[in-house]
Symmetry: C2
Amino acid sequence: MAAQLEQPTDISTDVALAVSTVIFALRIDPKTGLTTLWIPLVKRIREPHEGQWALPGGPLHCEESLADSAARTLKRSTGLTPKYLEQLYAFGAVDRSPGGSRVVSVVYWALVQSDEAERAVSDDNVEWHVADDLPTLAFDHNTIVEYALWRLRNKMEYSRVAHAFLGETFTLAQLREVYEAVLRKPVDPANFRRQMLASRAIVDTGRRLTGTSHRPPRLYRYNSDFTMADQGPLTPTRSH
Amino acid sequence: MAAQLEQPTDISTDVALAVSTVIFALRIDPKTGLTTLWIPLVKRIREPHEGQWALPGGPLHCEESLADSAARTLKRSTGLTPKYLEQLYAFGAVDRSPGGSRVVSVVYWALVQSDEAERAVSDDNVEWHVADDLPTLAFDHNTIVEYALWRLRNKMEYSRVAHAFLGETFTLAQLREVYEAVLRKPVDPANFRRQMLASRAIVDTGRRLTGTSHRPPRLYRYNSDFTMADQGPLTPTRSH
DNA sequence: CGCCTTAAAGTCATGTCAACCCTTACCCCG
DNA sequence: CGGGGTAAGGGTTGACATGACTTTAAGGCG
């Protein structure tokens, strides 16, 4: 027999089976000398895991897509509006939520800009934490964070994820700082410049950042007609 | 307020919201001169999309994990037992299933060996199709296939996915054939050998494949203490 | 035994990339 | 107004990866 694929008739929710979206939001703080990754956590105000910290999350509504749900939930619980949102993974172990209820969580991964982060959290139940040094979280959220960080660090080089952390325009030094925070190691400025320009991911605006106590760096912006897709492992850079 | 994260109380399935798993299974056929990728499709026997071809799939049961559900569903609808199973993506657009029902599908991506494939399909409603040339499928399954193939081809080089297609031991020529089928282009045997051996992903068994009409090739097997994780962009190959 | 086929190993040119040099530009401060 | 500090931004080198090609090994078969 063929599959009874996606037919609501025979899946009449015999037991509670819920779908929720969970958001792993990232922010970079350029203030502290060592740039580090920060993520917002929410304190649970009811069972299960009352009082423990958890990633922002909430139930999926019927009239919204997964991505919409993630954006809405993040906004509601932390006030943040992500600039970048991407699906990470669906977690669906049977026992990941205690108490016999079954929850499948689709985890999204969001990036927010530093300035945005300032005006967001105003609640005692929301707090920023350093991504690499978290307390024990509710549910399987520690596992989720671990996986998210691993993916982030592996994906860095062939995506423009880093750009989402910054504003419309930025200097190469700022962009490089983001890379260094994510990769947790210094990056050579000269080589970094070459790579970024060669990849055509960014474009010179012609303007410069003034007001510094040194030579004013150029301001760049994202290349609008540049998608991650043509950034495969084989970049045919036949530029001449 | 903090998120009402994953609490079954306030998500009491107001409207039908179901979770299903969908499997994109792949097989390589070494018979035909040009090795090609084949995937099993299932003909739908009821609405919606009755009579159309679709990827194998079915509702998630409450007492099974997502991966278990995918494996079980594939087995039930096609008879196949995958050697490799990995989550691909969760599809959750509001209108992806017609008729007002809301279905979130977690798509898994499975690889099966050629010999296994033989004894599987025995049903008129199950058929193997060439992955790059499919009919119009039910739901958004064409989109799913497109995405799956894109991911497969991009992931090839830094994962051992290809190995799953083959048996316990294999020759380099066999392994290369798999790569060529996936990448759709010829691969230089000599360079391929060098890469594979340098990556330490495979190990020489010491034995050779006899019975050929030419020089007997060495038999290799997977390197058990080799995970994709240490294959990151920074491979510290300080071997001396 | 010679011929065919394919495996397996070696050679060489080219490209890529990190590490490190350097010069240049600009602001600040005296 | 001129010197010093700082970072931009470009150049060079050497290690290493990669691609194209050549050479040798090993077996089957007529």
